[in-house]
Symmetry: C2
Subunit: 549 residues, 2 copies
């Protein structure tokens, strides 16, 4: 494997660990816990793993002798920077527990467990991947571990390899499933512990005990680097509006963090759009008004950040999509027989007036996408909609109307960008390198202490790493019951952007100035070797949340 100069230099980085993990560890148990909601239901579903205490690690002078551990690890779902360091921390932690410990990696996600595809992760392999981005050490995958058949099939290989603990690195769904698996293995007395680790660039796996999911820091810094570069270009050429869509599934954490880092002229926050019951036209009008106000001062340029999930947070669009899904499910064959150029009118004629009006207002390409591109379940594929182009096209139309009415006297020319894959596999920032390594190391201690149904937790992350608090949080503590595919399920509560929390409040207090003036900040690329204020800061979100507490 040919390496870049940076890869080679970065391989030598030694991630910083919390004080409690630097030597012998003693485990402090808190009081019994409750789930965040639906306590009775959750307890009933998790009789063996419900109510366990929060665990905190502390430095200890007592030397413990643990037997060797054989563990397995799985990367689940979308890539996030730092996954390799979780595995390296886990590996080093297991070896610190007992040098004869061993670690297996299941290949290409949970499917590797079910299909018995694995490799042993030796020191040579681990060393190749320290401080690198990507999940390529063992690959990842999106198979969901949900059924008893899968659990039993997995157990076969776990038993065969002598694996007594499984670490699942994933997002909210994967950690929910990890807990279901922990409960099941405990129930049948399988002798396999299951530990989760909080991963996702989306930043929506967080709560009182999990301050941030890993990868969010690095991904936001990569996106902010390129957004900053685009803003510098925008402010030099002074002739384009850049519409920039950012990955992040439902929640707008990434867009908000990037806005805090780069101070764009506009950033749409889906959660606010929903809260204020804004229509698509309201969003378009909000943007167009800012474009017009800037144009009035001679500034025919600007930047707009758009969260990937926006469309589904617009209440009226949600209703339209629901009716479209329903209509096409029942009239698919007839619709398919309609001549292409008449399909749009056909749909307009068959929707309720309110939805028909919204559908009619959409640009042709988007309207077509909504009626044609459906997933295997027959649902409209909202994620395929190029929201950045949709918005700029509608803003352009609105401005043309405003021009006729004398409300806009400028030029409007747009460029479009979508950033996602650029950030999911970047080499981890110092923060993510340290945080991930600590999460993995924490998992090894939880395993040595015989715990199951826990998630690795590292807190107080805005302090220097030395002062971080490592420990474990019962996964059931983060759960509530939610309807999924028509059924009530226990799931980890997804964290959307809270409009009453410090990050959004700060953004809201600044955005009118950012809209009118040009206050761009240029964060530049992630640095690994410079002064600590350049290399080590956490996200603005974490800092503001810590200040807001």
């Amino acid at each position: 494997m040919k390496k870049s100069a940076l890869q080679t230099a970065r391989a030598a980085y030694r991630p910083k660990l919390p004080k409690a993990l630097q030597g012998q560890v003693s485990v402090k148990e808190g009081a019994p816990t409750e789930s965040v909601a639906d306590q009775a239901d959750i307890q009933k579903l998790f009789p063996n793993t419900y109510g366990m205490p929060v665990l905190s690690f502390e430095p200890s002078s007592e030397t413990k002798n643990y037997p060797a551990i054989t563990a397995g690890v799985i990367l689940s779902g979308g890539q996030a920077p730092g996954g390799h360091n979780v595995i390296a921390g886990l590996f080093d932690g297991l070896k610190a527990v007992n040098p004869d410990s061993r670690l297996y990696g299941f290949l290409l996600g949970p499917a590797g467990l079910i299909e018995h595809n694995y490799i042993e992760l030796t020191a040579d392999i681990i060393d190749e991947y320290r401080n690198t981005g990507g999940f390529d050490i063992i690959g990842s995958g999106r198979t969901k571990l949900e059924t008893v058949e899968q659990f039993d099939k997995g157990l076969e290989i776990l038993k065969k390899l002598g694996i007594q603990a499984l670490v699942i690195i994933g997002g909210d769904d994967s950690n929910t499933n990890a807990c279901v698996l922990a409960e099941y293995y405990k129930k049948i007395d399988a002798g396999v512990q299951v530990i989760g680790c909080p991963k996702t660039i989306d930043g929506d796996l967080k709560n009182e005990m999990i301050e941030t999911s890993f990868g969010f820091d690095t991904a936001c810094k990569v996106y902010s680097e390129v957004i900053g570069n685009i803003q510098r270009d925008c402010n030099s050429a002074k002739k384009y509006w850049h519409f920039i869509k950012l990955m992040g599934r439902s929640a707008s954490h990434i867009a908000l963090e990037c806005a805090l880092q780069t101070q764009p002229n506009i950033c749409i926050i889906s959660e606010e759009v929903e809260e204020k019951n804004m229509s698509l036209d309201d969003v378009v009008k909000y943007i167009a008004d800012i474009v017009a106000a800037r144009a009035a001062e001679g500034n025919n340029f600007g930047t707009v950040l758009i969260p990937e999930g926006l469309i589904e947070f617009i209440p009226a669009m949600k209703k339209l999509i629901a009716e479209l899904n329903d209509f096409l499910a029942h009239n698919g064959a007839e619709f398919a027989a309609v001549a292409k150029e008449e399909q749009r009118q056909y749909i307009i004629d068959h929707l309720t007036p309110e939805n028909a009006a919204i559908y009619a207002s959409l640009p042709e390409g988007v309207a077509r996408q909504l009626s044609l591109d459906r997933d295997p379940h027959g649902n409209v594929q909202v994620s395929l909609i190029e929201t950045e182009k949709l918005l700029s096209e509608m803003v352009g139309k609105k401005l043309a109307d405003m021009k006729k009415a004398g409300e806009f006297k400028g030029k409007f020319s747009a460029q479009h960008h979508f950033f996602g894959y650029e950030g999911r596999c970047a080499a981890p920032s110092n923060f993510d390198a340290d945080y991930c390594y600590s999460l993995g190391y924490t998992a090894s201690v939880l395993i040595a202490e015989g715990k199951t149904g826990y998630m690795s937790s590292v807190r107080r992350t805005t302090l220097p790493a030395e002062e971080w608090i490592a420990g474990g949080v019962p996964v059931t503590m983060m759960m509530n019951m939610e309807r999924r595919h028509g059924e009530m399920k226990p799931v980890i509560q997804k964290a959307l952007v809270r409009l009453d929390a410090a990050p959004f409040r700060y953004f809201a207090s600044q955005r009118d100035v950012w809209a009118k003036e040009t206050c761009y900040v240029y964060p530049g690329p992630i640095q690994y070797f410079g002064p600590t204020e350049v290399c080590d800061p956490t996200t603005k979100t974490l800092v503001l949340e810590a200040e807001g507490k």
Copy 2:
């Protein structure tokens, strides 16, 4: 102006200078020069600035006393990282010549000279912009300085401000115009010298005396960072082919350099496509065959780099576009009257059979773009074609056919990216920071020595900066006569990728392995504070060219 931590830390960087520029300078004159071609024509057009010698600077112990200089500077055309450092080097150089020297900046490109928009660039302003990306210190613009009226209008303000030398920072066209201006001011004895500086991320302004244009290094490093990140994602998820289009106008230097840095599975080089007279179908087949070969080994993923200018280098497409331009120019009204859904067939019916067949083979969206989106001159806007989507759509079709024929047994799913604005205004790499500062400093010496019609030249750039050779090259030396808009014009010869030069030859020797195996390299983000092998390397193109000499 709120600054990021990196901006603040980076402001303190002191660009490295060639030895000759660190103290007193003596100027060594070479032999008289000739233009690269069309000597008689060029000499006739530039009687006052033709044939001047190449100048090299050497350290000197003799102290010269120069009078104070008042100079002006213009940023022309598209942004390129390091422009601010050219201005900072120019400013510092002028102050070193005489502390009473002054510098004016004309705003928003050459238009600022003609329209008399300017600011004085004081030390305070310069300090705000050292080592930063962008052209926002004075803005840039695309107005072409071509007519005597413009020259005279500009002279008014130059005279008024007492400016005796003008530095024009631009690409090949802007430097050509700078030379025309130098010749004119000399002819009329205006008392204003004109000096050019070689700028463009495209890398197509280079020759024997200009090893590279500034900005190419940084832009390629930013693109390679995100390409590397995408490749790591690609190799982790193992389910997508990423089609990545890269800015760079005509020449494929950027795509080639990024390929050398990241080792993608496929990189198309426009100049090779033209040389081999490949059709669009040939290019599609080339890609599809590699997709199929990788699929045969279970690898349903990969990366394809595509230079922005590709379409215009495909001889058959060039012919099609020429006929389309011609046809639509003469039949625009009739065509506009054809019903939308019949326009495609209408065009097919009216083109010559060869071009009709190619047009019929294009995906609908592209065909529509070619017939509808025309520029103010009525020409097809080739740059609007989303080549990355065009190619992936045609590759998908080809693979579907191959599947039926049993020649492809895999999956093909594509993602698309276009990188351009992300790199043009990045903060300059150490190389560009040093190189630009040296180019600006060099310009100040050329001015002090009374030169005009010269371009700043800094050579031997693969050696440490201390050993670089600074000096001046007569712009006429790089010129030849070319047909532009139907007229023969003196222009700086544009440098396309040479298929017989070391960078392409190395790429060609490796690409079959890169196609089949997965040899991705992950360069990571530009580093400013680390070890020299991480922070200071030049482009692979420069290294290979130097080795190939």
